[in-house]
Symmetry: C2
Subunit: 240 residues, 2 copies
């Protein structure tokens, strides 16, 4: 049985211009790995309607889940919700349940729910709201597409709301060994090991530190006994 | 006149599993912005032949330049060069110029140029080598696609070799103002400003710090006078 698959779509000019360093990809990747959903692809696109609609269609069609980050705030460049509605070909408007959440939040703060803030209650028809415990404005799940905020603290809280509801697979187990030999010396035996264990993913991550060349070899798989066997064999090939 | 466009393809299971945090995207984005090449899209895919070939074809076809990072080392999971050759439909083999570079490097170090290391001299027919001042094994430019190492120090050195040879556009100028009002209060006037200056990109990046809600507003464009005019007008709308 293979694990469910996922893609991520990061939306925002600020990442592509180099102004902001994305933090959400790394976070989501780690959380999905824990519950056995395989993140297969990430795309980063700008705040451009066609680019977002095309990417949502392609990725939600190709994978079991799509997670998006960014573009759901109150300003003119926040167009993700409208683009997701367009990609799924459903209408979008201010929805009563989302408006009620915002109204309660801003009433409590003594702040006006003005037209800009009300944009955050625009939810595609048929979508399920995702709770935002930090700043109230909800995300939503439309079909297999989970639409979340770009601000890392809010993104992480929304991921925590969404993931428990998804069916995971076998969690990916991994073991790492550090070998103080240059990657060119490790590569031959490592390739043979990879052929011997076709169900495992064996990665080599070279480093150079204080004049020592070496590599961290990571063996990943869902069958713990196989991971153990491969690691034991590898350690025997390169004794300290 | 519009600026040249670019895409980036990050190759590596270790990013998608959450083991490693990608650093090359942020670096490349900043360097391209400086020379007026617009980074339009980034994709991250795993060490999978079909995924890499499809992404190289799609991105090299859609943008003026494609930059790739990762998968050009000596181990079995380093398949980027072969995938780029397949995407461009050209043969690939060990090339004499690349072999000579490796031979000289390993002779000097007293290390054997074994079969695994020799894989790093596999270069698609017609490609131009990219210098690697750190560990010798070259990258290459095949058509509009620039293939570079994933190790950040080597990636950055290769970017420094490639970019001076490319034709840039008008560098993107940007000004930032911090407004200590919540984004929902800023959004209305900001939208009107964006409509008044259609050639500028106006982004809003909210923050919350020590109980204060605010946003950094970034105005970007290639016409400095327009950026100045929009910033002056914005500052007047929200005096301290």
């Amino acid at each position: 049985m293979t694990n469910p698959t996922a893609a991520m779509l990061v939306i925002g000019d600020e990442i592509l211009s180099g102004r902001t360093r994305d933090a959400n990809m790394h976070y989501l990747a780690g959380e999905l790995t824990k519950i056995g959903i395989d993140l297969k692809e990430v795309r980063v696109v700008s705040d451009d309607r066609d680019a977002i609609v095309d990417a949502v269609r392609a990725l939600s069609g190709a994978y079991d889940h799509l997670f998006t980050s960014g573009g759901i705030g109150p300003t003119h460049d926040d167009i993700t919700a409208d683009c997701v509605a367009a990609a799924f070909d459903v209408p979008i408007d201010v929805r009563d349940d989302a408006r009620a959440i915002l109204q309660a939040h801003y009433d409590k703060a003594g702040t006006d729910l003005n037209a800009a803030r009300l944009r955050m209650a625009r939810i595609p028809e048929g979508a399920m709201l995702i709770e935002n415990p930090i700043s109230a404005a909800p995300g939503f799940s439309m079909g297999n597409t989970h639409v979340m905020a770009g601000v890392p603290a809010i993104f992480q809280a929304m991921v925590a709301s969404v993931l428990p509801g998804l069916t995971g697979g076998a969690p990916l187990l991994s073991q790492t060994i550090r070998i103080n030999r240059s990657e060119g010396d490790i590569a031959g035996p490592l390739g043979a090991l990879a052929q011997q264990f076709p169900d495992l993913s064996i990665g080599s991550y070279p480093f150079q530190k204080d004049g020592i060349y070496g590599a961290n070899i990571v063996i990943r798989g869902t069958d713990g006994a196989q991971v153990d066997a491969a690691m034991t064999q590898l350690a025997g090939l390169f004794p300290e």
